[in-house]
Symmetry: C2
Subunit: 308 residues, 2 copies
Amino acid sequence: MPSVLVSEVGPRDGLQSIAAVMPTHAKRRWIAALARAGLREIEVASFVPPRLMPQMADAAEVVQDALALPDLHVAVLAPNLQGARAALQAGAHKITLPVSVSEAHSLANVRKSHAQMIETVREVVALRDEDWPEARIEAGLSTAFGCTLAGAISDAQTLALAQTMADCGVDEVGLSDTTGYANPAQVRRLFSALQRELGERAGGAHFHNTRGQGLANVVAALEAGVRTFDASQGGLGGCPHAPGATGNIVTEDLVFLLEAMGLDTGIDVAALLEARAILRAALPDEPLYGHLPDAGLPKDFVYAREAA
Amino acid sequence: MPSVLVSEVGPRDGLQSIAAVMPTHAKRRWIAALARAGLREIEVASFVPPRLMPQMADAAEVVQDALALPDLHVAVLAPNLQGARAALQAGAHKITLPVSVSEAHSLANVRKSHAQMIETVREVVALRDEDWPEARIEAGLSTAFGCTLAGAISDAQTLALAQTMADCGVDEVGLSDTTGYANPAQVRRLFSALQRELGERAGGAHFHNTRGQGLANVVAALEAGVRTFDASQGGLGGCPHAPGATGNIVTEDLVFLLEAMGLDTGIDVAALLEARAILRAALPDEPLYGHLPDAGLPKDFVYAREAA
């Protein structure tokens, strides 16, 4: 059993942040290739109005396709009750609700105050409890480490909102460095506190590589005990409402980091690069990031699962 | 007093790894700008035969220029006794001798077996002791974490050579991830052992970002107590004898990492970006790396020296 979960968010966070719209058939091929590479959880879509985000107009179809893949945990993002209902109806296993610690970012991103967003979370949890008790709900705390609009965010702000989310009944609370502000000292401190205060409801880390600190923050999060990391193939991604916030950490480089450290991800790098080739072909004009795809695995490289 | 030393190696490791030859007057301006930004140690040149490395033909002149800058520790690389003598004559404060843990890399890089290179180190130390007792000598252990030619390198190999170097009388022994093979678990383990075994002679970390792991490895090295880090502005650099080994970790991103973690570097980011503009103008066709230069400092960013 792999010891770390790499949760691929490229099909959601990546694709929603670029202008191009990937055709449904290309999404299907890419997601299937990612699953073949050993990714056990993929955030495949965002349930938002198509007029706001045409890249995600096929969300329900993409979820249904993904559900046909063996042993895949199908995750989605939904910013509101309507989106969450549609996601649950489509059969998503997990819904992440984006809850901004910065109220300015919340207003820009989901057009809701803190009070309104907390109410939304309560409604989504109630809906889940009523009709889809198997589905998991995560509150993903955006701007948990700082905000391009509001500036510094204190640990106390983030931890208070995390507790509120737990009180609302979500299954897990993850912390997102939406804006690339996080540093390893802060990451270690904040995730340690999150685990102390929320126990099993403490969720994973969602880092962006805006200032090149993404994998450095992963090292700190690992030390704090985090075992779930969002990443995006080729570093696709960002946030349209957080200026300068470029892509997620790169799945390829993250997998190498973890495996080299002896942490089993269950992922095969060669198959991951085949998925990257599909992404490359589907979006020929989009910049893709990452160092491992150019450099390759080291000579004599041993996967954690082989070393164990 | 800054708590971490960022040792800029771009004028040596960077410039020696690219085809273009930077004119002496441009080196002078760039190095002066780096010093103005607060870099207290700069590796300004490599003392190698100009026919092998025309980029470094002006090494003595560059050292003399750098010696005129206030409070700058002027470091150089020298692969052999002749180079070390020329560097000492020029007035360098510190000489790094590249000593490969992989004998295959040693033969490729300096055309010497281990036994021959150890003899060279002894001769350089004797020369220093005799005529330039103030100069510092570092053995920089190349391929300390793995080698593109020899594959895996064991901790025992690296630590044995480190001890040999200390026995030869060098002042410090640094570890270099020449090939971008290092991972944070290995870095933490190896630097901890180095400090245990060598005490005050344990030197700094020289990481390349070949597989995107550079700053992740810095976090691990910091935990092991390392307080000196080589980096190259814009990530210029590499090793012509280690295929696929691209540039050093990026000074700009490293400084942000350290300062954000509360570790004073003494460096000013705005001035560092002015130095980058000089580098950019001098080498208009060379790729420069780094995320911070694009993203800028976060809103409300506070330097460690201001927070303290």
